[in-house]
């Protein structure tokens, strides 16, 4: 049954080809059918494979399907193949399941668009790339998918290409991502250099034997991998592209920029958990970057008025939680939150899309209000998901976020927990600010617009996702010790023997004649403390409720209060302008590059030759006389430039 793996990505690829080439001819209905049908087939295949994996003994749940030898040169050989294990299975389920719902929703949302087929062709292509990313059995296949989703994301952000802001956002997303990708690529080469292979299972098996705990190679590799992850998953310092990416159609924001692609970085870190476990310094970095991103993005989220931008910052913040979990070694918690986040954030984005659809394209929350009467289904599903993200018992977000906070405190430290907890307070506040401003209170909608509920094809996915957001937490109810479905499921993948690794590293260091510091303190196991966890749960429930009540007080009881409070506050202005990071990057990186290349071309490559040559010409006058014979000014200069190059090389040589 697991042999079906190769079919999973192929279905959307076929769908993409059909829609891309024949989309205009076969008509809108057929395009929708092809697009959704292909993803549905993938989803069904994944379900079959899941069942098959479920009935395999836990320690044998690892299946590799090699399709062909991709390339081989000397001792370098890469297969093109898929790896089906519990971790990739979770991702495949999320990608195809949530992906399918969003495809269905898109039929309704994009119905008015002329280039409907183009949209679905890209969306299917995205599914194909994303599946390659999560299913690949080695770093290079993953990288292909990694770049593929980037390209699709670029095209979909720029889908409304009449809008200049959409084009700019697409290019920005692409270029910022490339910064991360380049680090990822270097990491792959470094890994190949050390291990002689880039196959996931080989690398992870060999890592404890080939690398020294906490030494330079593993630290550099994981740092590069993490930089790659910050690009794709929009973490500090490479998060600026994601809020701008909201220029794309809303279902795209839901699928790519909330549920799947942006969590690829988390998946990659978890996939390489063995390497990260061996680099404590980078683990700490990951945790702090995650925590800081969670907190900072939440503060910005409180000040935005565009409904999609609030959700975008919320996504950045929630992914920060996932990295925080990775950083303290709680990979199960990270994946758990990834899954529940996919449910409730997809629901929130699609809900916001339904709102925007219902009031004809308005995205400013100051021009909404009172929509709950007009859009009851949207409102209820939105509210459920908001409770989930705020962390209210017993919705999914409550369990996953609490697991992260618990591990942040027990395996990390109080600062990390503090960042997470403060973030949670702000999350509850800004999410309910969003709900109150959009659905409650007086209507501020343009009087010419008559809000209406969206069609079934859009509300049905909302209802399913809200249902999943409600019960998703069951995957990981932690109260009964030893019973945590997701943890047990992922255990074979995440297994890492720290003691044996340290022993190995010690031997290797001895062989090099060095004596390692004591690592004994690393081996102290922290017991799972049920009472601490329950206490923390109650505390964070209190935090969430405080946030909600705060939002209620500010936006329902006294709607004038926030206006008075923020007036003249420089701190507010700073946050509202996103801490000026965009401007900072613009001034320090973007502008100098553009100006610099003009300078380089104009001065160094065209005019500089004249100037430089004149100076040198005086020194080597003889040559300039010779060169003048050439008549053409340019040729003379070119030739002289060659002579200068010769002199420089000569000086370098001797």
């Amino acid at each position: 049954m697991l042999n079906l793996a190769c079919l999973v990505p192929i279905f959307p690829l076929i769908g993409s080809i059909i829609n891309g080439f024949f989309g205009l001819r076969i008509g809108k209905n057929a395009v929708g059918m092809v697009a959704c049908g292909s993803v549905a087939l993938s989803f069904l295949t994944v379900l079959l494979m899941f069942a098959s994996l479920l009935f395999t003994p836990a320690e044998e749940r690892m299946f590799e399907q090699v399709l062909f030898t991709w390339m081989a040169a000397g001792d370098f050989s890469v297969d093109f193949g898929f790896q089906i294990d519990p971790l990739s299975m979770v991702m495949m389920l999320v990608v195809t399941g949530v992906g399918f719902l969003i495809h269905v929703y898109s039929i309704g949302y994009m119905h008015e668009e002329y280039s409907y087929y183009r949209y679905f062709a890209y969306l299917n292509l995205f599914m194909f790339s994303m599946l390659l990313l999560v299913m690949g059995n080695n770093f290079l296949v993953m990288f292909i998918g990694w770049e593929g989703v980037g390209v699709c994301s670029y095209f979909l952000i720029g889908y409304y290409f009449e809008k200049k802001s959409a084009c700019d956002a697409g290019v920005k997303a692409f270029v910022v991502n490339r910064v991360g990708d380049f680090a990822f690529l270097l990491a792959i080469m470094y890994i190949f250099n050390i291990f002689g292979t880039i196959d996931f299972s080989d690398v992870m098996h060999m890592a404890p034997e080939k690398l020294i705990f906490g030494a330079e190679p593993v630290t550099i590799i994981t740092l590069l991998l993490f930089i790659g992850a910050t690009g794709k998953s929009a973490q500090i310092p490479l998060y600026t592209w994601l809020p701008d990416a909201m220029e794309g159609p809303t279902p795209v924001s839901a699928l790519i920029h909330a549920a799947t692609m942006v969590t690829a970085g988390v998946y990659m870190v978890v996939r390489c958990s063995v390497l990260f476990e061996m680099a404590p310094l980078i683990m700490l970095t990951v945790a702090f970057i995650g925590g800081a991103t969670a907190l900072m993005a939440a503060t910005i989220g409180m000040t935005q008025y565009d409904i999609k931008r609030v959700l975008a910052y919320s996504t950045v913040s929630q992914i920060g939680y996932m990295f925080l979990a990775c950083g303290v070694g709680a990979y199960t918690a990270a994946i758990f939150h990834l899954v529940t986040h996919a449910f409730f954030k997809a629901c929130l984005f699609l809900g916001s899309g339904s709102v925007i659809h219902g009031i004809h394209g308005e995205q400013d929350m100051r021009k909404m209000g009172g929509l709950k009467e007009h859009q009851p289904i949207t409102y209820i599903t939105f509210l459920i998901s908001t409770f989930a993200i705020a962390g209210i018992f017993p919705l999914s977000g409550f369990f996953s976020k609490d697991e992260i906070l618990y591990h942040a405190l027990m395996d990390g430290n109080i600062i990390l927990w503090g960042m997470g907890a403060t973030g949670a307070l702000l999350t509850a506040f800004y999410m309910f600010r969003l709900v109150f401003m959009t659905f409650w209170g007086e209507s501020r909608v343009d009087p010419h617009v008559h809000p209406h509920e969206s069609p079934k094809v859009m509300t049905l996915p909302l209802m399913i996702l809200a249902g999943l957001a409600t019960v998703g937490g069951l995957l990981g109810i932690p109260l009964v010790h030893g019973w945590h479905a997701l943890h047990n499921w992922l255990e074979p993948v995440l297994h890492f023997d720290l003691a044996a690794t340290l022993e190995h590293s010690r031997h290797m260091l001895h062989a090099q004649g060095e004596h390692p510091a004591s690592w004994a303190h690393l081996l102290i196991e922290t017991e799972h403390n049920v009472w601490v966890e329950i206490a923390l749960m109650l505390l964070s429930l209190g935090i969430a409720i405080t946030g909600i009540v705060g939002a209620y007080f500010c936006y329902v009881k006294n709607p004038d209060l926030p206006g008075k409070f923020i007036k003249g506050q420089w701190g507010y202005e700073l946050v509202k302008n996103k801490y000026g990071v965009d401007e900072l990057y613009d001034a320090t990186i973007v502008k100098p590059t553009v100006v610099g290349s003009f300078f380089l071309w104009k001065t160094a490559d065209q005019k500089g030759i004249d100037g430089g040559v004149n100076a040198v010409a005086n020194v080597i006058g003889w040559f300039s006389v010779q060169a003048r014979v050439f008549q053409s000014g340019f040729v003379r200069n070119y030739a002289l430039f060659m002579v200068m190059g010769f002199l420089v090389l000569l000086i370098l040589m001797f």
Partner: protein, 476 residues
């Protein structure tokens, strides 16, 4: 009288060069009788190229050595012969519709391409400095004429003259470098030079090093690396588009393989003395090439700078001086051939009668008007920028892999960063095609043959990216 023994010659292994020489002369003769209709010449040239390509596989066991060790046919040279034959054939195909439209009527055009291909084949197989010089001159002289073949066009004339003057200048450096190398080691054979250096019996180390520097300049000019690249943008812009594509692939590949052979087989042992030089050259080439390309508004100039930057990446494979580097260059040039001929095919398609439509802004709105062509262009641009799953990515990956293997990590970091920068200007064209409205009506001159070349190129670019292994095996 002393009897001079004739050197052993294996004619089967020489077949590609011989066939093309014969066909070149045949085409010249046929031109006398062909009149205005050049189709016969085209046909004869293509037949010659196909025969040459097939005969490249004739030798049973490789390598075959001829002319007393001056000429060797091995896997590398066979693969490069295929690249040359293939790129020359595509050049001729692109010219069929382009030449009449742009008033190029000279029949010797086709003969020159064939002769140039002969020179490239000699160059790829040369293992003797004299043979290398011979190959380089055969190639260069043909190119000087080809660049100026648009006789009525001032830019084309200027390009040819510039290229000729600077080329002659660079040849001086090259010959001088070869002379010094001979002076230092007493032999012109690459293997012999390596032996002398290995045994430590060089006449003078200073001469050896000076010769190396001069060779870097000579080859550096032929492959258009900074600071010997100045001719490239002007010549690429002025030459007819098919010739530009030709120059960017075939002759460049030929010069690179000779460059590789000299530096990786003759003088690798003194590698630590010249690798810093080449690293400086490679980095400068990448940086000037990429940043120069960012500000261009003419597509051919942009491609010229982009081509300079690609040479920067390719030099890294020479610096690595291992066998992986050799096959990486071969793979890269094959991939590059597909990408460049595809791109130039589209450039030619966009041309109108008497105007070539070379401004980048003319590409605006192509995505709406000609979605298929815009899609092809997107594939080429992404591949040139090194995006997977296209050929350009695998090619770069190989080069960088070869360098990492020898420990040139910093160099690879710089190269990868450069490829990030390069995406900016490749993407600029994609953005224009899809995201801007065209300022005026586009009138494409849809020639079926040019379209076919673009289709072949797209196929190759994707095929070599998805299934690189078959081609890769050929390079080893």
């Amino acid at each position: 009288m002393e009897h001079i023994p004739a050197p052993a010659i294996d004619f089967i292994s020489l077949a590609p060069a011989l066939i093309l020489s014969v066909f070149g002369m045949l085409v010249l003769l046929m031109d006398l009788f062909a009149g205005k209709n050049k189709n016969l010449l085209v046909f004869a040239s293509l037949v010659g190229l196909v025969l040459a390509g097939v005969s490249a596989f004739a030798p049973k066991a490789l390598p075959v050595v001829s002319f007393g060790g001056s000429y060797v046919v091995d896997h590398l040279s066979v693969f490069f012969t295929l690249i040359f034959v293939f790129s020359s054939a595509l050049t001729i195909l692109l010219s069929i519709e382009y030449n009449p439209r742009n008033g190029i009527r000279a029949g010797e055009y086709y003969a020159l391409i064939l002769f140039c291909t002969v020179g490239m084949i000699l160059l790829a197989s040369a293992t003797d400095l004299i043979m290398i010089f011979l190959g380089i001159e055969v190639v260069s002289i043909c190119l000087y004429v080809l660049a100026g073949i648009k006789r009525g066009d001032v830019k084309s004339n200027e390009a040819a003259l510039k290229y000729f003057l600077l080329g002659a200048f660079a040849t001086g450096f090259l010959v001088y470098g070869m002379t010094l190398l001979y002076g230092a080691t007493g032999t012109t054979k690459l293997a012999g030079i390596a032996e002398v250096i290995h045994s430590g019996q060089t006449n003078s180390d200073t001469l050896l090093l000076l010769g190396t520097v001069l060779l870097i300049i000579g080859f550096g000019f032929k492959v258009a690396s900074v600071p010997f690249h100045m001719w490239a943008p002007d010549v690429y812009e002025g030459a007819p588009s098919p010739v530009t594509a030709f120059m960017a692939v075939g002759p460049k590949a030929a010069a690179l393989v000779a460059f590789y052979r000299v530096f990786a087989t003759a003088i690798p042992e003194i590698g630590t003395t010249w690798d810093t030089l080449l690293m400086v050259v490679a980095v400068a080439t990448m940086v000037i090439g990429n940043f120069g390309a960012i500000v261009q508004t003419n597509i051919k100039r942009l491609l010229a700078y982009s081509s300079i930057s690609h040479v920067g990446y390719l030099l890294i494979a020479i610096i690595a001086r291992n066998s992986l580097g050799g096959s990486a260059i071969a793979y890269y040039m094959m991939a590059y051939a597909f990408m460049i001929f595809g791109t130039f095919g589209i450039v030619i398609l966009l041309g109108e009668k008497n105007s070539e439509n070379l401004e980048i802004k003319n590409y605006a709105g192509l995505g709406v008007k000609q979605p298929a062509i815009a899609l092809c262009m997107t594939v080429f641009m992404l591949s040139l920028g090194g995006m997977p799953p296209f050929a350009g990515f695998i090619a770069k990956f190989y080069i960088f892999g070869a360098a990492i293997k020898e420990g040139y990590v910093v160099l690879v970091v710089i190269a990868v960063l450069n490829s990030v920068v390069s995406l900016y200007y490749y993407l600029k064209i994609v953005v224009l095609m899809y995201m801007k409205d065209s300022e005026r009506e586009l009138e494409l001159s849809m020639g079926p043959i040019t379209l076919a070349v673009v289709a072949i190129a797209v196929f190759g670019t994707i095929e070599m990216g998805l299934f690189p292994d078959p081609i890769l095996q050929l390079t080893q």
